[in-house]
């Protein structure tokens, strides 16, 4: 039995559920938006492991029945009442119920991904320090609130610089130009991350257990996720990775405690591989072929512990 924890209307979660149905894998859906109201945990702990069951209005699963759990809590807190927002306790990320997190962190079955493992990409430079230990290059990076340091870095990188958020809060990656110099004083309020621009093709790698799926993205936009909005064409084709790069993706994912990850690479014209970040709740749907959803199917099979 597979448990899917997420927002049932969120596209990635909904798509996975549709594939579980197609593949005839038994699953139950836990709506994280209504967890406290619509579901319940019966919980005992034995030797540090949770024992018990989880139930909703029309189903109940004993933990020992579970072969795998999919956990995706990505929705921003838009559902909060205005009164809660106005109390000065703004949250950049969605919260997870503490009891549910404790269970998911400690269940013996596969959990993709355990809540505790999803925090590493809330700091991109933290992840970068880990990434570079796994054979990948990382771009020259400056994290700063110092306008003068940025001006020097801009020159050092031959004016080929991008800037983006440091945290996991979504931002559009933008190229820096001389026109941006006038805004550098804003850094006094908030630091930012600047990186040398690396030319080449973006490659997105999804790791599911020990399997990987790579897509090459050919696009002129600096941030291909917004190519359409900026009027750029975007082409995605399956990619083949060198054996050592593929192995490093799997090792990196494992080191971060992730059975499912979305790794952002760039292959330069000279064949070097840069790694930018590891998404811990990857929106793989964007990269799937609707006619051949290999990532979702691999994920479904992994959750069901079926042989690939």
């Amino acid at each position: 039995m597979v448990l899917v924890c997420g927002d049932p209307y969120e596209p990635v979660t909904a798509f996975l559920c549709s594939r579980l149905e197609v593949l005839k894998i038994d699953y139950r859906r836990l709506d994280l938006r209504a967890f406290r109201r619509g579901a319940d945990l019966e919980l005992n702990w034995v030797g540090g492991r949770p024992c018990g069951s989880i139930s909703a209005s029309d189903w109940r699963i004993e933990f020992e029945e579970l072969t795998g759990v999919y956990f995706r809590n990505v929705e921003l807190n838009e559902s909060k009442e205005e009164g809660e927002k106005a109390d000065g306790k703004g949250e950049a990320y969605p919260e997870t119920d503490v009891r549910l997190a404790a269970v998911l962190n400690n269940l013996p079955c596969n959990v993709l991904n355990r809540p505790a493992a999803t925090y590493s990409n809330r700091s991109k430079p933290y992840q970068a320090l880990l990434i570079r230990r796994f054979g990948f290059k990382i771009p020259k990076t400056l994290v700063t609130n110092d306008p003068e340091a940025v001006a020097s870095f801009f020159v050092e990188c031959d004016e080929q610089l991008i800037f983006k958020s440091i945290s996991g809060v979504r931002s559009t990656v933008r190229r820096m130009t001389r026109q941006d110099f006038g805004r550098l004083e804003l850094l006094e309020n908030c630091p930012a991350q600047f990186q040398e621009y690396v030319a080449g093709d973006n490659i997105r790698v999804h790791v599911v257990g020990e399997r990987w799926f790579a897509v090459r993205i050919q696009c002129e936009a600096v941030d291909y996720r917004y190519a359409g909005e900026e009027g750029y064409a975007l082409t995605m084709v399956p990619a083949v990775l060198p054996g050592d790069i593929a192995a490093n993706c799997i090792r990196l994912s494992r080191e971060l405690g992730l059975a499912l990850s979305g790794i952002d690479l760039k292959e330069t014209p000279s064949g070097e591989y840069y790694c930018f970040e590891v998404n811990t709740s990857p929106a793989f749907l964007f990269y799937e072929s609707p006619a051949r959803p290999v990532i979702a199917d691999a994920l479904a099979e992994f959750l069901a512990q079926r042989e690939a």
Binding site: A92, L129, V143, S167, C190
Partner: protein, 221 residues
């Protein structure tokens, strides 16, 4: 020694550079004077609320805080010097006070979680792990030392060299009543606090490691 409330707020200006092979920091005050990473011999991290600018909208303040927390976590992990604590991301970004969250780990290290009944009836004592040392608040019965090794291993499993607990002294066995990854020390008497401070200074100024290295096999999984 320099105490800085918010590294990323004027007059403090910090530039952290990293690439595939190196990491370096330049720190300066707007008024002049610069220092470099080599001059930083140790860092003691407290997590305080960042100062919000008057008039900021809530979503702006939330974004700024997320950026500053992300920058600070990365920076402390990039430093070659002793740091207390190099927090793992899950504790840094979402410190939890709920004992339910800690239950699995508590049991795995041969500790027992407090029951509601004993919490009400039994006295409790503050204790802190600093590296491999355990400092109990003055007056704690010496029989509580029996769990010292478990407390140290618990802290090590999180990669923390400074971790506070509150332990209830029930008749059967000491029980964990609180875990505090961001120690406040407010449950300790003055002399115990002095001992804690001296231990911390010792860790920060000696060559011994101020932070066990945690790898994936030590984590939650």
């Amino acid at each position: 020694m320099r105490a800085i409330q918010d590294l990323y707020r004027s007059p403090s200006r910090i530039s952290w550079r990293l690439d595939s092979d190196t990491s370096s920091t330049r720190f300066r005050l707007k008024t002049g004077g610069a220092s470099f990473e080599a001059e930083i011999s140790a860092v003691f991290v407290r997590k305080s609320s960042f100062v919000h600018q008057e008039g900021w909208a809530l979503d702006e303040a939330t974004y700024v805080q997320a950026e500053k927390e992300a920058a600070l976590l990365g920076w402390i992990w990039g430093l070659p010097c002793p740091v207390i604590n190099r927090y793992p991301p899950e504790l840094w970004f979402e410190p939890v006070e709920s004992l339910e969250f800690w239950r699995g780990r508590i049991e795995r290290f041969d500790l027992e979680l407090v029951s509601t009944r004993s919490e009400q009836a039994a006295p409790s004592y503050a204790v802190v792990v600093i590296g491999s040392r355990v400092v109990w608040d003055q007056g704690a019965p010496s029989r509580l030392d029996s769990i010292n090794d478990s407390l140290v291993r618990f802290a090590e499993s999180l990669g923390l060299s400074y971790l506070e607990f509150r332990i209830t002294d029930s008749m059967r066995k000491p029980q964990v009543a609180a875990v505090e990854p961001f120690p406040k020390n407010d449950g300790f008497c003055l002399s115990s606090r002095r001992e804690i401070i001296n231990e911390l200074i010792g860790c920060l100024t000696s060559s011994k490691s101020a932070g066990p290295v945690r790898n994936a096999s030590d984590s939650w999984f």
